[in-house]
């Protein structure tokens, strides 16, 4: 059953450009996958480490800016991507050292401040970042002979990166390290008493999360061929966090569903009204108040509830009782 679902969704995902004729919808699918990579990366911290970052757009943007600057400096695409990811990892390490001075709300505040520094630098340091006008790039790579200039070509490239992200994060979460990370989320003191280096576990999780944010940032750069301070604004970090929370923290599917929800809402909303931020804020407030565990765990809970009522089994506790969520 599980294998079947998985293979059907894989086939469906891989053939999107074939049965969706319109480039506009293929591009929306590309955006969903791109932001899903970002949300999956952020979820490593928010969901599995219990550390809510509101500065991740800073890491996303640092990768995009670094990539653009390397490419405009004449670097080869491979070198530019590796260089940009290295810069992002370095930035993530600095972010982590500072932000991990606090947990809980202290962590939130420090990441807000760090994100605002990145925004300030992007906006003000005009000689490097070109200020409000942003940085453009003119070339795209063609990995394995796949042209990224067409909508479907870019979709397939993004899909490959997305699948790699899902696979690696799935392995990461299931590994002993992933288990110890969840341990530091739920019982940091006991983990410490058991001899785990709580700070180091969180630090490494931050780096891994930053790496995927950087990968998403590079995809964003190649997709738009443009990066501006808008990308690193607080609202961008909040949007990413909304994807994670809306879909459900601490699940693999949640951030993907959340990214799809936000990207589709954004495109639908912008077709009718120009007030996306109002909608974003309203969804945020509504989800936090009414469905704090997110859409995916919320739906799963509903499914178990319905199934256990329809087919009650002897001697088995009713599953899906409201669980303590990450938020």
């Amino acid at each position: 059953m599980r294998t079947l679902t998985l293979s059907v969704s894989l086939v469906l995902l891989a053939t999107v450009p074939l049965w969706v004729a319109n480039d506009y919808y293929v591009n929306i699918a590309t955006q969903i996958l791109l932001y899903a990579v970002f949300a999956l990366g952020l979820n490593l911290l928010v969901g599995y480490a219990g550390l809510v970052s509101l500065g991740h757009a800073g890491l996303f943007g640092i990768a995009a800016y670094a990539g653009a600057i390397f490419i405009n400096g004449g670097a080869d695409h491979l070198i530019a991507v590796i260089g940009a990811l290295a810069v992002t990892l370095l930035a993530a390490a600095v972010f982590a050292v500072l932000a991990l001075r606090g947990t809980g709300l202290g962590f939130v505040m420090i990441t807000v401040a760090l994100g605002q520094i990145v925004w300030g630098v992007a906006y003000r340091w005009i000689s490097i970042t070109n200020g409000d006008n942003g940085v453009s790039i003119t070339t795209q790579p063609s990995p394995f002979g796949l042209s990224l200039a067409t909508a479907s070509g870019f979709y397939w490239a993004t899909l490959l990166v997305f699948l790699a992200a899902v696979l690696m994060i799935w392995i990461f979460v299931g590994s002993p390290f992933g288990a110890s990370l969840r341990g530091t989320r739920d019982q940091p003191r006991r983990m410490n008493a058991l001899g785990y280096h709580v700070w180091m576990i969180r630090f490494l999780a931050f780096l891994f999360s930053g790496l995927w944010s950087g990968v998403a940032g590079m995809l964003f750069l190649y997709y738009n061929q443009f990066v501006s301070p808008q990308v690193v604004a607080l609202s961008a970090s909040a949007e990413a966090l909304l994807m994670v929370i809306a879909g459900g923290t601490g699940t693999l599917l949640g951030p993907i569903a959340g990214a799809a929800l936000v990207v589709i809402m954004k495109n639908v909303a912008s077709a009718y009204i120009s007030r996306w931020n109002l909608v974003l804020g309203a969804i945020f407030v509504a989800i936090v108040i009414f469905m704090p565990e997110g859409l995916v765990p919320g739906s799963v809970r509903l499914w178990y509830w319905v199934r256990d009522r329809l087919y009650p089994r002897e001697g088995e506790p009713v599953r899906g009782a409201r669980q303590k969520s990450g938020v």
Binding site: V108, L280, G281
Partner: protein
């Protein structure tokens, strides 16, 4: 030489303005343990209320006070209707304030348009006043005076009244304060109203210096965050000192390293965080 003195004067005035903004932010953070991310929006909303009241024929100071009261009522509604629904879930409360800040920013854009609106300096305070050999804009001196009066008033409230003693008790140990019969949840509403009102009032007072424009909220919120991280949460002295430190850093940073003004502003905050995470005047978490 005179240039530096004028810059220093401007820094003090800006610090005074920041104090009005961040005193409430710090109290809310100290008592309710949440960084109120709508605080910049409340500042901006107060400023927009002020422009409308002035356009409706009010003079400057009544408009500022009325805008402050209006924003205080809104703050009370936010606390009562939204934050109250999420007791003990600080993170969810922060996310609600974040969502609200986006909504307020967009509603302001709808209501007042995207063009910056100037708030005229009150006529009695136009021009410059000579202090020794240097000429300062009179209005900025008035801002310093207003900030000093409000600082004194807040100090009196917190240090000399029964309500202030209850607030301090709530900041220090909310559980114990409840045990001895203080209604901490009512303090939440009072402090939230007070902080919101001060922010709205500060928005109008800051109008002649900053003017009002979309994005003002995003410019002010990080400054309030820095003040509270520097000074320590829940400490009036901390936000007072922090405000002036940030006022100086911001103005001198803009003048000397305009491209890196934000780095100059945030670097000291990061240093304080690393060396003294509870802030200069904050107490270490128990």
């Amino acid at each position: 030489m005179n240039l530096w003195l004028v810059l220093a004067g401007n820094s003090v005035a800006f610090g005074g303005l920041l104090f009005l903004l961040s005193a409430g932010f710090s109290l809310i953070f100290g008592l309710m343990r949440i960084p109120n991310l709508t605080h910049g929006s409340l500042f901006m909303l107060g400023a927009y209320f002020g422009t409308s009241l002035i356009a409706a024929g009010f003079s400057f100071w009544p408009a500022a006070i009325a805008a402050g009261i209006g924003v205080a009522i809104l703050g009370g509604l936010i606390e009562r209707l939204l934050l109250r629904r999420l007791p003990g879930a600080e993170l969810a409360q922060v996310l609600v304030t974040l969502g609200l800040s986006f909504m307020i920013a967009d509603l302001c854009l709808m209501g007042w348009g995207g063009d910056p609106i100037e708030i005229a300096t009150p006529p009695a305070l136009r021009g410059a006043t000579r202090v020794a050999t240097v000429a300062f804009p009179t209005y900025r001196l008035a801002v310093i005076a207003v900030a000093a009066i409000i600082a004194a008033g807040l100090w009196g409230l917190l240090d000399r009244t029964r309500l202030g003693a209850m607030i301090r008790a709530g900041v220090d140990d909310p559980a114990m304060a409840r045990v001895v019969g203080i209604r901490v949840s009512r303090l939440f509403t009072i402090v939230f109203c007070l902080g919101a009102g001060l922010a709205g009032f500060a928005g109008v007072i800051g109008g002649p210096i900053l003017s009002v424009y979309p994005g003002l909220d995003q410019d002010m919120l990080p400054l309030a965050l820095v003040v509270v991280i520097l000074g320590g949460s829940g400490s009036l002295v901390g936000s007072f000192v922090g405000s002036f430190v940030v006022g100086f850093l911001y103005n001198f940073g803009q003048a000397m390293l305009p491209e890196l003004a934000y780095v100059v502003l945030f670097l000291p905050m990061l240093i304080v965080l690393v060396l003294r995470p509870q802030g200069l005047f904050g107490r270490a978490a128990p």
